[in-house]
C-alpha cells in the first residue's frame, strides 16, 4: 500500500540533507518572501538571526516535538535546524519569509534523518501489532493512554513526508499549497500525503474508537 504513495512522493524532487532550501533556484522553487505572511514585521532588527528565533523558535520547536514525538529527538532536530539556519542565514535575502524557511529546514532535516537512520519497525509490523495485540473485546479494557501511545507509535512509523504533511495540516494550520512549498512537492502530493496518513490511522484504529 505504501509503494504507490512513495511513488507519488518520490516523483517530486527530493531535497537532500545538504542542500538547504537556500538554493531553490536550482530546483525551481522560489524562496518565500515575507509578503506571504500575514504578520507584519514590526521588529526593527527582524533581520537578525536571534530576532528570527525569538519570533519563530517556539513554533518551530513545537513542530520538532510533533515530528519526532519525544523531547530528546525534538531537541536534536531543533538544534540541527538552528545550526543549518545559522550557517545559511547570511545569504538569505532580508525579505525572505523566515518562518517558511525555518519550517522547510526543519522538515528537510527530519525527512533526511529518517531516511538515513530509518525506522526499526516498518509500517506493516506496527500495523500488525496494533491490530493483533488487542482483540476488539480487549480494546474496551485498554485505557485512553494506551490508545494514545499506540497512535503515537503508528504516527511514528508513517513515511516521514506523510508525517510532516499531517503535522503541518493538523497542528500548524498549513494549507496544501504551503505544505507543498515546505515539502518541495506538488499541492496534489501534499494533500495525498495528509489523506493517506489519516486513512491509515482511521483504518488502524477505528475498531478501538468508541462508536
Amino acid at each position: 500500500m505504501d509503494a504507490g504513495w512513495d511513488r507519488v512522493s518520490e516523483g517530486n524532487r527530493f531535497v537532500s540533507d545538504l542542500s538547504l532550501p537556500l538554493e531553490p533556484a536550482s530546483r525551481g522553487a522560489p524562496i518565500p518572501t515575507s509578503s506571504d505572511t500575514a504578520t507584519p514585521v514590526s521588529d526593527p532588527d527582524h533581520c537578525l538571526f536571534t530576532s528570527m528565533i525569538e519570533r519563530f523558535g517556539d513554533e518551530i520547536y513545537r513542530f520538532a516535538c510533533q515530528l519526532t514525538g519525544n523531547g530528546a529527538d525534538a531537541d536534536d532536530l531543533y538544534q540541527e535546524t538552528l545550526l543549518k539556519a545559522f550557517r545559511a542565514y547570511a545569504k538569505l535575502p532580508t525579505d525572505a519569509n523566515h518562518r517558511a524557511w525555518l519550517y522547510r529546514i526543519c522538515s528537510n532535516t527530519f525527512i533526511s534523518d529518517r531516511r538515513k537512520h530509518g525506522r526499526v519497525s516498518p509500517m506493516n509490523d506496527v500495523m500488525a501489532a496494533t491490530l493483533s495485540d488487542h482483540a476488539p473485546d480487549q480494546a474496551r479494557a485498554l485505557d485512553a493512554r494506551d490508545l494514545l501511545r499506540d497512535v503515537e507509535r503508528f504516527v511514528d512509523a508513517l513515511p516521514p513526508k506523510q508525517r510532516v504533511a499531517l503535522v503541518l495540516r493538523k497542528h500548524h494550520e498549513y494549507g496544501y499549497a504551503d505544505i507543498a512549498d515546505v515539502l518541495n512537492s506538488s499541492e496534489a502530493a501534499a494533500r495525498a500525503n495528509v489523506h493517506e496518513a489519516l486513512t491509515k490511522l482511521r483504518g488502524a484504529f477505528s475498531h478501538r474508537m468508541e462508536v
Binding site: 523531547g71 531543533y78 538552528l82 497542528h171 506538488s186 482511521r202 475498531h207
Partner: protein
Amino acid sequence: MRQHDLPERYASANGHTCHPVPDTHLNPTMDQFMTNPTSSPALTAQGSIPSDLAAQAASSATDPCDLAEAVMPDLVFGDLNQADEDWVRGHTITCNYCANVLHSLEHVCSALDECADDVCENAAARRPSATLCLGIPEARYGFMKSPVGDVLVAASDQGVVEISYLNHNGRHESLRELEQRGYLVYERQDRVRPVVDQLQEYFAHQRQTFDLPFDLGGITDFTRSVLERTVHIPYGKVQTYGEVASAIGKPKASRAVGNALGRNPVPVIIPCHRVILSSGAMGWYTGGPEIKRALLGIEGVSYAARESAAQASLGIEG
C-alpha cells in the same frame, strides 16, 4: 471496494447500503491505485479539494459514498465550502457507513491533538536556547549618544566586540556583521553600561586609557596583530601606517595595515584614529575623516603635531 477499507467485521456490522462503483466507471488516472485494494479514490492526484459534490453525486456514475469518503479529511479540517460540507453532513445522516468513517476520523484527530499536547507540554520552557544549540558566544548590544553621533556598542562575556558609528554604518549592517563574526546578537543595554560609561568619560576629556578587555572573535590573524599593536599607541600621540607595519615585522605592508585598521571592530578603545599617513595627512577612518579629526582634536593632536610625527617617522625609516 470500500469493504476492503475496514476490517470485515466492521464493514458488515455498520449496515452500509451503498453499492461499490463498477470498475468501468473508474477513470484511467485511478487505475494505478486500483491494483491496491486499500487505496481510496480520494487519494488520486487531483490535489485540489473537490467541490460541487452534490452535482457529482447526482450523476449516476458516481457513488456518493466514494465522494463523501474522499473528502472526509477535508471536512474535518474545515477545507470544504459550506454547500459541500452541508452535502457531506447530509449524506452521513442517511449512510451509516459514512457516519462511522467520519466518527472514526474525528476520533483519530482528537487522539492526534492529545498526542501533540503531550509531546508539546511545556515546550516553550523546554526549548533549548539558541546559544546552547549553536555553541557560540553571545554579543549584547546597546546604544549611546556621543559628540561624533550615535554609537552602537556590543560586548560578549570576553569583552567589547563592537563599537560602530551609526552615522557611518547602518545598525543592521553592524549587527549582521557581528553575526557573521560568529556571535548571537541580543539587545541588552544594561550589559554594555561599563563600556558606555568609559566612552562617555573619554569624550568628556576625563579618560585617557580604557580599562576594558576587548574580544576580537571572527577577526583574521593579520588584522588582529595590527590591532594588538595599535592599542599600545598612547593617548595624544600618532604613528604612521608604516611605523605600525614595521612594528609587526612587515615594513612593506603599510597598505595592508591601513586595510586592517579599517576593519577595527572596536575603534576608540583600539585607537586606530592615532595612525596616520606618512605625509602627515589623516588618512582614512572607519567612521569617516570627520570623526578621526574629532577624536584627534579631543586628544589635542594638532595638524602640526601630526606633521612632525610624520617627519620623525620618515627620519627613522630613512
